[in-house]
């Protein structure tokens, strides 16, 4: 009796498994397995797609061990961090500010502001990247024309042609595009805070600043963590915005070169002057990206853990 019941139970289990198998198969074959394999291939070299020559850590030595390849890679690595840092500073602070404003009961026109702030996030990065490239064009761009007209001609800089400016400008355009995402996530979180907190604060005579720093921000801490993680994974994966605004070589003088463009050049497109991709080296770049992502996500989740103790 018991064993029959047991086998019925297994049948039922297997029965539900069948519903999952098709999705699981696609997911494993086209996501998990290629990921694992890309990590494995970082220890190989070869011609084109045929990576059959095991070389241990040689690809990593080229990335980290000094020399020209290493300069490029570490430069791209540093730029990716700057890119991420500007997003955290500009995109996420603005997102928080917008959300706090849109959550205020006294502000009017909220649906309009909400809709407008989110528009760029629905557009292709290629499109917005190209559009901003035209707007920032040093000779013909509307921005510099406008600056000239209002007598600020001195500020009409070659926005994308300057070594020090280019990366900042690209990061700001990317922040412009994505600010709607943190705004909406913060907004949903603020609206989810129980009114009891605010009523209690009002009874105690707390000022709006105190309510912000003592109630809202501490309660938003886990959400700040979620957004930091999202920004981190998004930025370490970025490619399109630099590709559109500057080009795959990260000009000028590699000032806008980030891990995405560096990976594209080494692993996929092939670098000047050879033009043949070095897929083993590309795999090593992906592996480093993967490890950094994993470590970053773990660190940020630990930092943003609810200090009051785990919920649930």
């Amino acid at each position: 009796m018991a064993s029959m019941r047991k086998s019925l139970e297994t049948d039922r289990n297997l029965f539900w498994l069948w519903w999952i198998v098709p999705a699981l198969a696609v997911y494993l074959v086209f996501m998990a397995w290629p990921l694992f394999n890309s990590l494995r291939l970082s220890f190989y070299t070869g011609a084109g797609f045929k990576l059959d020559n095991f070389i241990g850590f040689d690809n990593y030595t080229r990335l980290f061990g000094g020399g020209e390849e290493s300069t490029r890679f570490l430069g791209a690595f540093k730029n990716t961090f700057v890119f991420f840092f500007i997003h955290m500073l500009v995109q996420n602070s603005l997102g928080l500010a917008f959300a706090l404003l849109l959550a205020r009961k006294t502000i009017r026109g909220k649906p309009l502001f909400r809709t407008v702030i989110f528009i760029p996030a629905t557009l292709a990065i290629v499109v917005t990247g190209f559009l901003w490239k035209l707007i920032l064009n040093p000779q013909w761009g509307p921005l510099n024309l406008l600056l000239g007209k209002v007598g600020l001609g001195d500020l009409a800089l070659p926005w994308l042609g300057d070594n020090h400016l280019a990366l900042i400008v690209v990061s700001l355009v990317s922040s412009w595009q994505w600010v709607g995402i943190p705004t909406m996530i913060f907004l949903a979180a603020i609206q989810g805070i129980s009114d009891d907190y605010f009523e209690a604060a009002e009874i105690d005579g707390a000022s709006p600043t105190q309510v912000l720093w003592r109630i809202k921000l501490p309660l938003l801490r886990p959400i700040i963590g979620v957004i930091a993680v999202l920004t981190f994974t998004g930025n370490f994966n970025a490619f399109d915005v630099v590709f559109a605004m500057a080009g795959p070589n990260g000009p000028p003088a590699y000032a806008t070169d980030i891990l995405g463009t560096y990976f594209y050049r080494t692993g996929i497109a092939g670098q000047h002057p050879v033009g043949i991709p070095d897929m083993g080296l590309g795999a090593a770049v992906s592996t480093v990206t993967f490890v950094v992502l994993l470590a970053g996500v773990l660190v940020m989740q630990t930092l943003s853990r609810d200090p009051v103790g785990d919920r649930k």
Binding site: M31, L101, I119, V127, V229, T233, F239
Partner: protein, 280 residues
């Protein structure tokens, strides 16, 4: 009624209005510049890039239509996006149905396996994916994108749909079972109609991501007739670089469908694009 509930303007909110207003202009002016200048002749663009066209010119759009390839790019994107979204919806909803019903430890691990994909961008796997697409004989083909796009949409789709199916009241399902309905019938006739809002969320998330994707077409597709819209845009941008009205006509045509759809369904768009983010 609504008038009475409307808050009155408060002076303390003035800095807030200024910030929101400034940002709205910063969003709208570039888009205005894009659309309005696509209807000007080049000389008028440089004379005044912000104003309405002194003479309306559809030169840029005519060049697009005459080229012929732009239409191909557009149709290609429409095809691959539609088929991939259908693929994701079918795979993710059946898997979510299984995961929501199968309540033991193995199913919890399986769900975690899917969720891991939310954190790990699939682009990291590009090197091996290229080899895989080549082995399937789909290199340089629009359809080489399909399995990748299907896999890409699964983590978010499975996550959102599993959560949603779990909220379906057990009483409804039990009643159906007592009436003799099998699991397939319950899925098709009860679950699918009930989870339509969640399906819309998943569809919109994938619509925006896949329509706007550049990376995978860029690394897989070379032939002109297989290009997606965004890959085509990069080609045309290079080709028309100095003809601003043509370039802007390309950018406008590529983005206006999504903007219009967004303005019609802005709530669903916002939900779809932020849904994968907030777990727990």
């Amino acid at each position: 009624m609504t008038r009475a509930l409307r808050p009155r303007f408060k002076i303390a909110d003035l800095p807030g209005y200024l910030l929101l207003g400034f940002w709205s202009l910063l969003v709208l002016i570039p888009l205005w510049v894009m659309v309005v200048n696509s209807f000007k002749v080049s000389l008028d663009i440089f004379r005044d890039p912000f104003g309405l066209p002194p003479t309306v010119s559809v030169e840029g759009y005519q060049a697009l239509a005459a080229g012929g390839t732009f239409f191909t790019y557009f149709l290609n994107s429409l095809e691959i996006t539609t088929v991939s979204i259908l693929g994701v919806l079918i795979l993710a909803s059946t898997a979510a149905y299984g995961l929501a019903n199968w309540t033991n430890r193995a199913s919890r691990y399986l769900l975690l396996v899917f969720l891991a994909g939310l954190m790990i961008p699939i682009r990291i796997a590009s090197i091996n994916l290229l080899g895989l697409v080549k082995d399937l004989g789909l290199m340089d083909s629009l359809w080489g994108l399909f399995p990748i796009y299907a896999a890409m949409g699964l983590p978010m789709g499975v996550f959102v749909l599993t959560e949603f199916i779990r909220t379906v009241p057990k009483e409804i399902l039990n009643a159906a079972r007592i009436d003799g309905a099998g699991s397939v019938r319950i899925f098709v006739q009860i679950i699918v109609p009930l989870i339509r809002p969640a399906l819309a969320t998943v569809a919109i998330f994938n619509l925006v991501n896949l329509w706007n994707d550049l990376w995978f077409p860029l690394i897989i597709i070379r032939s002109d007739d297989q290009r997606t819209l965004m890959l085509g845009v990069t080609r045309l941008f290079g080709q028309y670089q100095t003809d601003w009205n043509k370039v802007l006509a390309v950018l406008t045509t590529a983005s206006v469908p999504i903007i219009l759809l967004y303005l019609l369904l802005s709530k669903q768009f916002i939900k779809g694009l932020t849904a994968g983010a907030v777990k727990e």
